[in-house]
Amino acid sequence: MRLFPSCKLHQHRGKWTLMVYGQTAKALEVNESFALLWEHFDGRDFSEEDLRTHLVTEYGLDDETAATQACAIIDLWKAQELLIT
């Protein structure tokens, strides 16, 4: 899977905003954790396993929590149409 390519992340006046350029343009205000994840996976293919491993390595989560979080993040990205599978 890949993140939707026509996006641009802005760190603008202390806030993170993801500009999404689909059929219509939309702005999503996101938190820093989202932004860091986005920057890490933007522009490359990755699997749910890759996301789980990243959460364990970068955030020190245990395997079970990382698996739950990875699933939730992917569901969120799918709901916002930010994922291409």
């Binding site: 641009k8 802005h10 603008h12 006046r13 202390g14 905003t17 500009m19 343009a25 702005a27």
Partner: protein, 327 residues
């Protein structure tokens, strides 16, 4: 614009702005084609200054579009340079993309078309090369140059480096910082004395003065040779007062920049937003050209006051260009 902090006085003023004021500011930036600079400036504002979300998002979307255009145009210029190199030709790029390198964030400088110049000894070879190898239709341009489309971009190939209606010998050699300043200066003068000029070109000039290592005396001499010294001081006065520049006055008093400010406010980017032009656009081509001629004549008092030595030649050249396109 210079990468420095927003002045305290400006911050105080911004704190009082309401949503309508921000919308007006954004519209003004669009008219003047400096939306990228507004985005950059807003990005530096402290968080206690409230900027409406819609304005923020519109500025972000605008900045993203500018970056995309900058990237694509850079690729087109690279391809164009390679194409010319195959023919042993080396173009000199002017204005637009070249000016963007002066900015703290080059992609945020709004771009239009691609302007290039060849030394006189290469010009005819360049035209022939384009016709034979680049295989794009060559259309005549305004200054004896020509125009083509390349990778979807308008490319103006200029015969003259300086937008000066008469040939003057002894000007700074090309390329040099003084030549580039004179080129940008004369370009602004030409448009200020015709359809109009916007803030984008004035920002280019301010940054050119700030970033290019030029010799003030050589530059002053060139302006004197061209008969545009008073104009240059008026231009500097505007840049210093409104854009915080350190543009040269050559040891002479500043000029009142109000007439230039009026031109910029009235028409925006190259006069495109002048109300008379907006009316004229709905008319037939002949009447549109008459409107352009009318605006040229309206600029005569300004030209006579600030560039009297050049006025006659300037207007003759502009009138000739417009009459030729009428017939």
């Amino acid at each position: 614009m210079y990468g420095s902090a927003v002045p305290a006085q400006t911050l105080s003023c911004l704190k009082t702005l309401q949503e309508d004021d921000w919308n007006t500011l954004q519209a003004m930036a669009r008219r003047q084609t400096v939306s990228g600079l507004l985005y950059s400036a807003v990005n530096q504002l402290p968080e206690d200054i409230v900027v409406p979300s819609r304005v923020d998002y519109a500025l972000m979307a605008g900045a993203d579009a500018l970056e995309s255009t900058h990237h694509k145009m850079t690729q087109a210029v690279r391809a164009l340079t390679e194409a010319f190199a195959a023919g042993g030709l080396v173009p000199v790029y002017l204005k637009g993309l070249e000016c963007s390198r002066l900015y703290p964030e080059p992609p945020l400088r709004e771009l239009g078309d691609i302007d290039i110049w060849f030394p006189p000894e290469q010009f005819d070879a360049a035209r022939a090369f384009i016709q034979d190898h680049v295989r794009e239709k060559v259309c005549p341009g305004a200054d004896g140059g020509f125009h083509i489309k390349f990778h979807g971009y308008d490319v103006d190939v200029h015969r003259q480096y300086f937008d000066l209606p008469r040939q003057i010998s002894g000007l700074p050699e090309i390329p040099s910082a003084e030549a580039e300043l004179l080129m940008l200066n004369a370009h602004i003068l030409k448009h200020a004395c015709s359809a109009g000029v916007g803030l984008r070109q004035l920002c280019d000039m301010a940054l050119a003065y700030a970033r290019l290592p030029y010799d003030v005396q050589r530059y002053q001499k060139a302006c004197e040779q061209c008969g545009i010294l008073r104009w240059t001081r008026m231009l500097s006065s505007f840049l210093n007062q409104y854009l915080g520049a350190d543009a040269p006055l050559f040891g002479l008093p500043a000029e009142d920049p109000a007439p230039l400010e009026k031109i910029i406010r009235r028409g925006g980017n190259f006069g495109h937003f002048d109300s008379s032009r907006e009316r004229a656009l709905s008319r037939k081509p002949f009447l549109r050209k008459l409107d352009t001629l009318g605006r040229l004549l309206r600029s005569v008092p300004f030209a006579l006051r600030y560039a009297p030595g050049e006025t006659g030649f300037l207007l003759r050249t502009l009138l000739k260009g417009n009459i030729q396109s009428l017939t």
